[in-house]
Amino acid sequence: MLNYIWFAMIAVSVLVGIATGRIDAVTDAAFNSAKVAVELAIGLIGIMALWLGIMQVAEKAGLINALARGIRPLARWLFPEIPDGHPALGSIVMNMAANILGLGNAATPMGLKAMQELQELNPEKDTASNAMVTFLAINTSSVQILLPATMVGLIGAASGALFIPIIIATSVSTIVAITAAKWLEKRKAFIQTPPSGEEA
């Protein structure tokens, strides 16, 4: 899927760039974006280190496991492949809690930790597991309750009126995300090939 989308975007960009005489801008954008990507990743190192350090302390104190046990009923339904009490559940909950509170800086490291723990349970290391896709779908649909700080910065006091519409719209998108992930994972085109994906 990503192979086709990725190639289509690049091919269309070059063709349109030639047709509109903006091919130089396209070239510049390619080099510039590559540079930005590395800067973004490097900028992430410090924040990642800070949160992963705090997470390690929380894990050793038994906090992550306690959290994972607390949301077991919901998590069992969302992620049936994750065994009871597995640390992945704790990281997923921490990631969601950080997202809900609008703490994007904290959400990413916790989400990446959850991905590593999900990867341990994944039978095919280069292919996404059902739990990973469901987790990502929830993440991309954004579950936040607090308004994003960038938006409040632009709109100011008028953003107060947007509180309700954003909560409704984000709930709709999260419900669609979960439904789509759960429904698509069993379709022929997407089902995971090893026996692990066959039950249910």
């Binding site: 899927m1 960009s13 954008a29 990413t108 954004s142 308004l147």
Partner: protein
């Protein structure tokens, strides 16, 4: 309502420092060697950040080229007639298309809406609701899957884009319902 929002937004500035102090405090109480464990966990930060670089380059280059070539603008023009049938304002189409691709791009579009129509206009409110209700799908997929070396993403993109579409459409209809 405004007071409530204020309290929530104020509280958010205390959440992070409280997390940073309360977790080690509890851990210390449980006899955990907090400093050593912190350093142990922090070590992973570097490897994860470096591992996502190739994935991030691939995605951001494609998106950057797509925007610079003007292909994005053609897509907007092409989709306009279809969307007017379902009552989707063409002014908000760029935001709906940009949101899954680029966080900074969609923030730029939002500030453009504010400049052109003002903070209280329906277009700005719809655009802001779209901005606030979904995430940058392609970035999240590149970073999260990249961090564990997953190349076959199965249904992740379709599920993410369906969620984005649902978020964008509900932003339009909810704002029309509430503000007109």
């Amino acid at each position: 309502m405004d007071g409530f929002i204020n309290i929530i937004n104020q509280a958010s500035s205390y959440i992070i420092p409280l997390i940073i102090v309360l977790i080690p405090a509890y851990a210390l109480f449980r006899k955990v060697k907090v400093y050593e464990e912190f350093v142990e966990g922090a070590k992973e930060g570097f490897t994860i950040a470096v591992r996502i670089i190739p994935y991030l380059v691939a995605i951001l280059v494609a998106i950057g080229m797509f925007r610079a070539s003007g292909a994005m603008d053609y897509m907007v023009t092409g989709l306009e007639p279809i969307l007017s049938i379902i009552g989707f304002p063409p002014e908000n189409l760029p935001m709906a298309l940009m949101r899954p691709l680029s966080g900074s791009g969609s923030l730029g579009l939002l500030s453009d809406l504010v400049n052109q129509y003002g903070v209280d206009s329906l277009f700005t409110r719809i655009g802001a609701t779209m901005y606030g209700s979904t995430e940058t799908t392609f970035y999240v997929i590149a970073v999260y899957f990249g961090s564990v070396g997953i190349r076959k993403t199965r249904h992740a993109i379709i599920a993410g884009l369906l969620a984005d579409m649902a978020g964008a459409l509900s932003a339009v209809y909810i704002c029309k319902l509430l503000f007109t």
